[in-house]
Subunit: 318 residues, 2 copies
């Protein structure tokens, strides 16, 4: 299927905004495939973006991310909010298929047109977010979803990336993760806006909360800074999910009142622009017309006949 | 202290190559501080680089990374090889100081001038490698160290970065890490060239090896591909370290014979050049002379009056 001309893109955007899940899916496929129409799609979406609250949800395997996402979607639907979900699967051959079972649970919402769920591949990154995820967020935002949830498995890099992409980041923990919490803490303590201790009916849940509170209290927080709440949940039966939704709302209010929302989004746009500009430049640098100048420079640096700074200067001067 | 002119840089490089630890430390400080002499230093070092084997060593907190590094240094010294160690500390306020105790153990080697040990800050990254680490590697390489060991705490992002930086990546595991191995596996199975199961005298060590072997056997490996060995160690008393050193040597031989060493180093140089070029461009884009054009574009994208692709085009066209 190919798209030709601005009319079709405009039609798709109109249909998506009218609530067609098929048009939404089609637009996400276009951005995911890096379609030639990508620029056109982005330009058509831009005027309709900026309304959705982007919520990231991350945590180590086994904490109950998909169950919590599922329960949170149900809670937000009770509040009549339209929810888009982007589930970013790690591309690793070792775990790529493992999430299928979890995805199926999402079919609870399959017949609800206030919910749109999409799995994104995370090609090219080690457990990281697909580079197309920010563009897919724009599609859902423009299509009028109030909340866009991005669910990723928390394996370090993706945690950092999700925090860069989301307005509000939820970090999930659960008792019985062994040294996992210890291992993860350096990362998670810097990114969470809301902490969720799931499986709160299990032994050790209170200890996890206490440990977390202790660690968070050591953080150097300025006057007026957001203090991340810790919410206990049993996602399986929905316990605590209204409190999670409330915490997300409070954080959004705080973002708006402090001007932090605009600041975060501008920062995010800046990173996105720079990343795209770099991709464009990479394309130019590696293009056949320049006989792959950067490869020749890299070989010279590897051989010790040049250094990376001189090579970078050459690249930019050429 | 300021440097003026090429003479002083050349003198420092000569002194470093003559074995002066003070000159080596000075050069690393220059690159770490982003000194104005950085370009000059890099140009002076380039002709002397490419000889050291760069070995990354990563693993979750608690697996015994520093003890293993220490024991590996001792083993390599028994083989009369000169070893430079770059220990990359996470910049997190929560764990920044925790490694000091470990560092002290390194003083076993304090009086040995065949060993140079340096802690690198990892500013600006969440647990990631300092961007100056590749430059520090160049300093140690040019100063004639046979092996440059880079030790990082394994929290996702840094694992990926160390694998990108090293010729050979050692991944450390230990029994009793609970779900940590499970959590980490997607990442570690893709980056390890040699797996070390430390604390091999503890319960569960054989299980960790078995699990690891099972997971590695699922990997899609081409004909002639490197098959990562699993070495059991008790770093505390040196058990297994000769085998680790041998595995590093075998991997190096494999890299040379297959041409993979040159390929990895060229790929690395390419990434380094592009990263430096982007930094230079970022400086230009954000400079006052252009009234911070990128900020204005980012604000327009955040406000929905532009999209990131148009903004990137504007940036590059301007």
């Amino acid at each position: 299927m190919r798209l030709r001309g601005a009319d079709q893109v405009a039609d798709l955007v109109t249909a998506a905004r009218d609530g067609s899940p098929r048009a939404v899916a089609r637009l996400i496929s276009l951005v995911e495939d890096g379609s030639p129409a990508l620029r056109e799609v982005m330009a058509a979406l831009a005027p309709h973006t900026g309304h959705a609250q982007v919520v990231g949800l991350t945590g180590a395997p086994g904490v109950g991310k998909s169950t919590t996402t599922n329960a949170l979607v149900a809670e937000l639907r009770r509040q009549h909010r339209r929810v888009g979900v982007l589930a970013v699967d790690p591309s690793s051959p070792f775990s790529g298929g493992a999430l299928l079972g979890d995805r199926i649970r999402m079919s609870d919402h399959a017949t609800d047109d206030g919910v749109f769920i999409r799995s994104m591949a995370s090609r090219g990154h080690l457990g990281g977010l697909a580079w197309s995820t920010p563009q897919a967020v724009r599609v859902l935002d423009a299509a009028g979803f109030d909340i866009v949830l991005i669910e990723t498995v928390g394996v370090g890099q993706s945690e950092v990336e999700i925090a860069a992409l989301a307005d509000t980041t939820l970090v999930l923990l659960a008792p019985g993760m062994g040294d996992g919490i210890q291992a993860a803490k350096a990362g998670i303590l810097e990114i969470g806006d809301v902490y969720v201790v799931n499986k709160a009916d299990r032994d050790g849940a209170s200890q996890v909360s206490r440990d977390l509170r202790g660690m968070l209290s050591l953080a150097d927080r300025r006057e007026g800074a957001w203090r991340p709440p810790i919410v206990k949940t049993i996602a399986q039966d929905g316990t605590g999910l209204p409190e999670v939704a409330a915490a997300i709302g409070h954080h959004h209010d705080w973002l708006v009142v402090t001007g932090e929302l605009a600041a975060r989004r501008t920062r995010r746009a800046r990173e996105e622009i720079e990343a795209i500009a770099l991709e464009v430049l990479r394309g130019r640098w590696g293009s056949v017309g320049r006989t792959d100048e950067v490869s020749a420079l890299a070989a010279a640096v590897a051989a010790g006949t040049s250094d990376p700074y001189s090579a970078a200067d050459r690249l930019l001067g050429g």
